[in-house]
Symmetry: C2
Subunit: 356 residues, 2 copies
């Protein structure tokens, strides 16, 4: 065999709840794809998350982010625990990684696969296919604000959204780039009519950057109208660029109209080769089904496909993505309960392997 093997260092954080279940079930599939394409994964497993927190008092070691920094890529299973507040689990793990590694693009494709029924009337396979570029490090999730006069009648809370020119320009530019490689249509989401300080700034930057991309058509949409239009005319969206909060809301709508949270993949991306990106399913740790072995692995598989594409391994990425598409299109293939079937996680993964 004269094939050379490319090895990638992957940091794997299975995390909480169904995270480890799904990741462990899917790893043999990822290994098989690697074998097929002359790749190898050198995986460092980090047992960080809520169990770690309950023992150590923190979700990951203090130098956690820097331990990840030399990897080629990072994969996160899920995070969140019913007994620990979200602001502990998220601010202790997910958000510090996104911010610490400056993964400023949250990329979320929304595709209606053949074999999946949209909750929207009249939408079939292929009718919905757009990608959201969500700003991932600042905006409405900046940790700026406070509470004063606690417990008194005049108690007041302030939460400040922060938009920098650098931070806004780079996500807008990434979205324009994506549009040039897709159908050349970009929708920029704001709420300029009610948030004149931040959102008019955003509009101005979109206007500036658009001059560099004369072939891309730009549509401005208010976030409330966009939420409506994703239900009314989702087929007309191509690339969507939005702030942290607006992107968060619109991608959840995107997941829902394309059939299920169980299918939605995502990447937290810093485009430079020197900084690892992190891939994760959009769904959470699903405490209600932990241990049942029936969690849907498809969002994890699609996220791993995005990881491979990000590493430049497009053929291997396509192999995984197509295996999922073929399985969903096949009415007799196994499905987990969330997709109306009665198969377990392992059966779905095994079936995917047979389709590689």
């Amino acid at each position: 065999d004269d094939q050379t093997t490319t090895t990638y260092d992957i940091e794997l954080i299975p995390g909480d709840g169904i995270g480890p279940e799904v990741v462990d079930a899917a790893l043999p599939l990822f290994q098989a794809v690697a074998d097929d394409h002359g790749l190898a994964f050198d995986i460092t497993r980090r047992d960080w998350g809520t169990e770690y927190y309950l023992e150590q008092g923190e979700m990951m070691p203090e130098d956690g982010v820097s331990r990840l920094a030399d990897a080629d890529s990072i994969f996160l299973g899920a995070v969140g625990h019913p007994e620990v507040p979200d602001h502990v689990t998220l601010h202790g793990l997910l958000l510090p990684i996104r911010k610490g590694l400056d993964q400023y693009i949250c990329k979320r494709p929304n595709v209606l696969f053949e074999g999946i029924e949209s909750p929207l009337q009249g939408y079939g396979a292929g009718d919905i296919d757009f990608v959201v570029y969500r700003e991932n490090t600042e905006g409405e999730y900046a940790d700026i604000g406070g509470r004063e006069h606690r417990g008194l009648d005049h108690e007041t809370a302030v939460q400040s959204a922060l938009f920098t020119r650098q931070g806004t320009e780079r996500i807008v530019r990434a979205a324009f780039e994506a549009a040039t490689e897709r159908d050349g249509h970009l929708t920029s989401i704001t709420k300029s009519n009610a948030q004149a300080h931040s959102m008019v700034f955003w509009d101005d930057i979109v206007e500036d950057v658009s001059k560099e991309y004369p072939t891309v058509t730009v549509e401005r949409l208010l976030v409330d109208a966009a939420a409506m239009d994703l239900i009314r005319r989702p087929h007309e969206f191509d690339v969507v660029v939005a702030s942290n909060l607006f992107g968060d809301i619109l991608t959840d709508i995107g997941a829902q109209i394309t059939g299920s949270m169980g299918l939605a993949p995502s990447g937290n991306i810093h485009p430079s080769d020197d900084i690892p990106s992190m891939f994760e399913p959009v769904h959470g740790s699903a405490p209600d089904i932990v241990g049942d072995g029936v969690a849907n692995p498809l969002a994890t598989v699609l996220s791993w496909s995005m990881l491979l594409a990000d590493l430049g391994e497009q053929t291997a990425a396509d192999a995984l993505w197509n295996a999922v598409a073929n399985q969903l299109a096949d009415g007799s293939a196994p499905r987990t309960p969330d997709l109306g079937g009665d198969a377990d996680t392992k059966a779905v993964v095994d079936d995917l392997r047979s389709r590689l």
Copy 2:
């Protein structure tokens, strides 16, 4: 005739675009309902809006808000103009009235009427019926923030959301009250996992106020999950309470899943008898169809029904509301083009009159 007549002072701002068209077409209907129920409207018409702005340089006179303050109620047709930026038209008219008269409740019912097809599969008449109580005077639309280092690399914009205890408690309490009169279920919308300063404060207040309403069940939902759940399980919502921005987004989704923006009414309410509330359709001025005489008047009619209910004239309010419901349920009744028909505004209004 020994019937006594109750007279109400109504301030009428037909506004821009289809606003005046629809209001003028609907006034005879409102007059007819008044006659039927021993009411009279003493209407003061204010020709404020964008035409006024183009002549006078302001959307309404400087003392506009105080001129409205003595009315029993206010009705607004629509506001917005393609040639004048939203932040001029809205900040010059709609928003100063909401804030100036402290109309802190934005009440938006979302009902799937018989005869209207939801874009969601499997939802029929009556399956969707919830009301949103949106905070209407502060939160994410507070005019606090700015831009610094204009045009430079380190330019930064800040937009601050402001939540006061008073402002939050009163909208939360209004929503709990509504829940006691409906199905006793309240959903509170936050984003506490990512906006810990403002939204944990909101959660704390919901927790406090809930103790006064032991019969109401309270569900907390993150705004992204709520957007999804309004598509996945809209039948499970009863009363929703949300901040200004979150309420804005969720009510637009509510309008869409119940069939059309052309059907969505709303009230900007201050509950005290001394301060007038303002009612308006949720839709805008629809510049694309201005002058064609085919604008859908139903959101305006339903909003006038809400105005009557707010004045305590529930029987008259029901007459209008039921006329709309009956018309929609009647497959041979006239409909405007946005609802798939070819009738004009006047034909729809005339038909409603015949159903009173």
